[in-house]
Subunit: 302 residues, 2 copies
């Protein structure tokens, strides 16, 4: 097992990264870096540079910080010659991820920009089923409750936090993985709370009959669906890609293990010395934020 350090011990680290690492045959969680979070039995650091200096034996770093501070940590990790795994989105701007790609290549280390939803149980089967078909239309419904998933996390509404595109980019990561041909945004309407800098809801129109409805105000049941109509039947990915229905019939998939699969993949990439950075989901978000028509809605408070 290889030692790995986890940086940013917040909700997503505790909910997903730590259990995935604990169960992994490839990785040993050897250090954490966080202002306040720790993991029992793991050497804790509060300063990233100190960890990099003290633990030369740790060659792989996983960052699960919010996008705004992430670049500085990512740059430091790569400059220190470490392989690097990034939570989604891989940055707050496209150009900063391009800079990380160039730096990783120059340093001869691996950079993995993860998209956890692409690892959902039904995604690979959906991609295979769509590969031989012509897509006539597709609709994404991605509606969840920001208070449940990001309690009190004001950074999501700050510039760079992406607002409802924080979950929406998960849908776009699946869409760009499964569609047999790329699409591009043609119009968007973005709902900005009067007191916030990023949208809380978005309606997107893409080429090829593809649309998306993102909303962060849904209480009660949560919806993460992608429905695709083709010349050879209809496909429905539910529960964020965990379930697959073809023409209304459930096609049972294995267990949903998004984060374990990401760490499996990172082990493969490090062994092969290969990077994996696909910016297509982030390009769609940048396009939507650039092209979208802005509508101001009521203030939002956690």
């Amino acid at each position: 097992m290889q030692p790995i350090a986890l940086v940013g011990i917040g909700k997503i680290a505790v909910d997903q990264h730590v259990p995935a690492l604990a169960a992994s045959p490839d990785w040993h969680l050897a250090a954490t870096v966080s202002r306040s979070g720790t993991v029992e039995g793991v050497e804790p650091f509060t300063d990233f540079a100190a960890m990099l200096a003290a633990r030369e034996d740790i060659r792989v770093i996983s960052l699960c910080l919010p996008p705004q501070p992430r670049f500085a940590y990512a740059e430091a990790a790569l400059k220190a010659g470490r392989h690097l795994m990034l939570e989604k989105p891989p940055g707050q701007t496209l150009a900063e991820v391009h800079a990380l790609q160039a730096l990783a290549a120059a340093q001869g280390v691996v950079l993995f920009a993860t998209w956890h939803s692409r690892m959902a149980a039904g995604v690979a089967a959906a991609k295979a089923w769509l590969a031989g078909r012509v897509v006539q239309s597709a609709h994404i419904t991605w509606r969840e409750d920001v208070r449940k998933w990001h309690p009190g996390q004001d950074w999501v509404f700050e510039p760079g936090g992406m607002g409802v595109f924080d979950p929406g980019i998960n849908a776009l990561s699946v869409l760009t993985e499964v569609l047999p041909a790329p699409v591009h945004l043609t119009a968007a309407v973005l709902q900005y709370p009067a007191n916030r800098a990023t949208p809380i809801a978005a309606a997107l129109t893409f080429s090829g009959g593809v649309t998306a409805d993102f909303d962060w105000r849904q209480e009660g049941p949560q919806t993460w669906d992608i429905a695709v109509e083709t010349d050879g039947g209809s496909l429905l990915l539910r529960d964020g890609g965990a379930r697959l229905l073809i023409d209304g019939a459930e096609h049972p998939q294995g267990p949903n293990r998004e984060y374990p699969a990401l760490y499996d993949r990172m082990a493969e990439l490090v062994a092969a010395g290969r990077s994996d950075v696909d910016l297509a989901p982030m390009v769609h978000v940048a396009d939507a934020l650039s092209l979208g028509r802005r509508v101001v809605v009521e203030p939002f408070h956690f």
Copy 2:
């Protein structure tokens, strides 16, 4: 001389493209497509598909339409097997330009995404001078009067029109050409008129001490300057790149011939069968529109 068709006979076509083509040793302006504009002595069409069908002999198309309708024309031109030259910006989204790149490659035709300011007289010399130096800081001042350069053109304030980034992207096209190492946006403040969908002014902060000040409300003298401080002296590009000063001393350049140089380049690309699509300036604009903090300012009317 090769025949070429010009699509979109508006202000920029009349001011720049038509004179550049008239003086070119490579090109013969053989057709125009425009709802209302025409060029004396040139076969006029109002319908693009009709022109493509009627003039199979014209293998090269130059589009100078606003970004919003441009994709549909570009796609039609490429699907009809024509080489294609695009005014800046090459699209209203990054993904649509990626789609055009893929289509041009599949069709075996040339795609040239032009950046006219990169052809300004002092740019090549500025790039050569900076190549051996370390940039310590740089500042762009790009202040012009939208009423003078886009009289009554409401499309610039519609989504996709980019607002003050319409001229600002010219500055960014020069910056990304001359700097010896890439930079990325870290913060932006965008001023939106209360009645408009795109910004009228922007203050940008990039990595590496690079800043930019774009404003579309400057009456009187217009300012298009890029000042760079290095470990080996200071450089100033003035008048949009037409003039070059090193440590305050003017270094005389040849005549400023931006559009003639673009058409020279297109002739070279077609002869070589090579495309030229650099999206770096557009990535910076998408990053700024995505990351920028929005401030609402007084309504703007032409």
